[in-house]
C-alpha cells in the first residue's frame, strides 16, 4: 500500500515531504521509546509516536521507515520538520490516539 492511501483513514495532516507520499507502507510500529523502535521497527513501516523532538527523524531515517505519524494531536517541533525535510522523512500528524490510529492502519493493511 502507498503512504498516500493511508492519509484519509488516519485523518492525517501531512507536515512535510508531500512529494514522498508514494512510498510503500507494509507495516506499523507503535512506541515512544527510541531504542525499542531501533530494535523492533521494520523497514517500510509507519511509526506512530507521541515524541515530537528532532531525534525521531534520525531513527526513522536509519531504519528506512516510511513515515512518522505523531498521534493524539501532538505537534512536532519546528526543528523536527526541518530535519525531516533534510532527511526526506514524511511527518504526519493526527488527532487520533495511538491505539485508534494503529487499529485503522491494521485494518487497512490487512484489508
Amino acid at each position: 500500500m502507498k503512504l498516500s492511501e493511508t492519509i484519509g483513514e488516519l485523518e492525517a495532516e501531512v507536515k512535510c515531504c508531500e512529494s514522498s507520499l508514494d512510498r510503500d507502507v507494509s507495516w506499523c510500529y507503535c512506541s515512544d521509546l527510541l531504542s525499542d523502535v531501533m530494535a523492533n521497527a521494520k523497514k517500510d513501516s509507519i511509526w506512530i509516536t507521541l515524541q515530537t523532538h528532532p531525534n525521531i527523524v534520525a531513527v526513522a531515517s536509519l531504519l528506512g521507515l516510511s513515515a512518522i505519524l505523531v498521534s493524539r494531536g501532538a505537534e512536532p517541533d519546528p526543528e523536527t520538520i526541518a530535519k525531516a525535510v533534510q532527511e526526506n522523512i514524511p511527518v504526519l500528524t493526527t488527532k487520533l490516539p495511538t491505539f485508534e490510529a494503529a487499529g485503522r492502519l491494521y485494518n487497512l493493511l490487512n484489508g
Binding site: D32, L33, L34, S35, D36, M38, A39, K43, T49, Q51, H53, P54, N55, I56, V57, A58, V59, S61, L62, L63, E79, K83, E87
Partner: protein, 148 residues
C-alpha cells in the same frame, strides 16, 4: 607481492566527533556511517545491524558523556565501530548491560531515551562486543559485525 612494496590496506577508516547533550546533531554520525555502507553495497540486513550499533553508541555518548568519537574501520569482511568518550565512565558494567537498567535523568527519559535498552541492543546486533570503562574517566566500546 613484489619486492619492496608494502601491502596496501583497503580498509576504509572514518572518524566522527560526537558532542555530549547535542540532541540536534545526534544521529548524524550514524547516518553518515549508514550511507557509507550503502555506497559500498553491504546487504540491507548487515547495514541495519551496523546502523543500530552506531546509533545506540552515538546516543550513549550524547546522553552520558561530555564528548567522544565514533571510529569506523570498514573492509569487505567486517565493520568495526569504536565508540570512545571522556565522561563519567560506568562503575558496574554488568549492571549497565542489564536490560531496563539506565542512569539517564528524567528529562532524557521523557524524550524516549534511557529505557535501558541501548547496550543490550548493541550486543544483540554484534558479532564481537567489548566494553571497557574507567569510572570518572570514560568509556570505550568496540563492536565488530562480520559481513556474512
Amino acid at each position: 607481492m613484489e619486492k619492496g612494496k608494502k601491502p596496501v590496506s583497503k580498509d576504509i577508516k572514518h572518524e566522527y566527533p560526537i558532542r555530549g547533550m547535542d540532541f540536534v546533531a545526534a544521529g548524524e554520525a550514524s547516518s553518515n556511517i549508514k550511507h557509507t555502507l550503502q555506497l559500498i553495497g553491504f546487504a540491507p540486513a548487515i547495514i541495519r545491524r551496523a546502523a543500530i550499533a552506531a546509533y545506540e553508541s552515538e546516543m550513549n555518548i550524547v546522553i552520558h558523556a561530555t564528548e567522544g568519537t565514533l571510529k569506523t574501520t570498514i573492509s569487505p569482511e567486517r565493520i568495526e565501530i569504536i565508540a570512545a568518550d571522556t565522561g563519567p565512565g560506568i562503575p558496574d558494567i554488568e549492571l549497565a548491560m542489564r536490560e531496563g537498567y539506565s542512569t539517564a535523568p528524567d528529562h532524557i527519559r521523557e524524550m524516549g531515551f534511557g529505557a535501558g535498552m541501548g547496550l543490550p541492543n548493541i550486543k544483540n546486533v554484534s558479532d564481537e562486543f567489548t566494553l571497557d570503562s574507567t569510572f570518572g574517566k570514560g568509556t570505550t566500546l568496540k563492536v565488530v559485525i562480520y559481513n556474512q
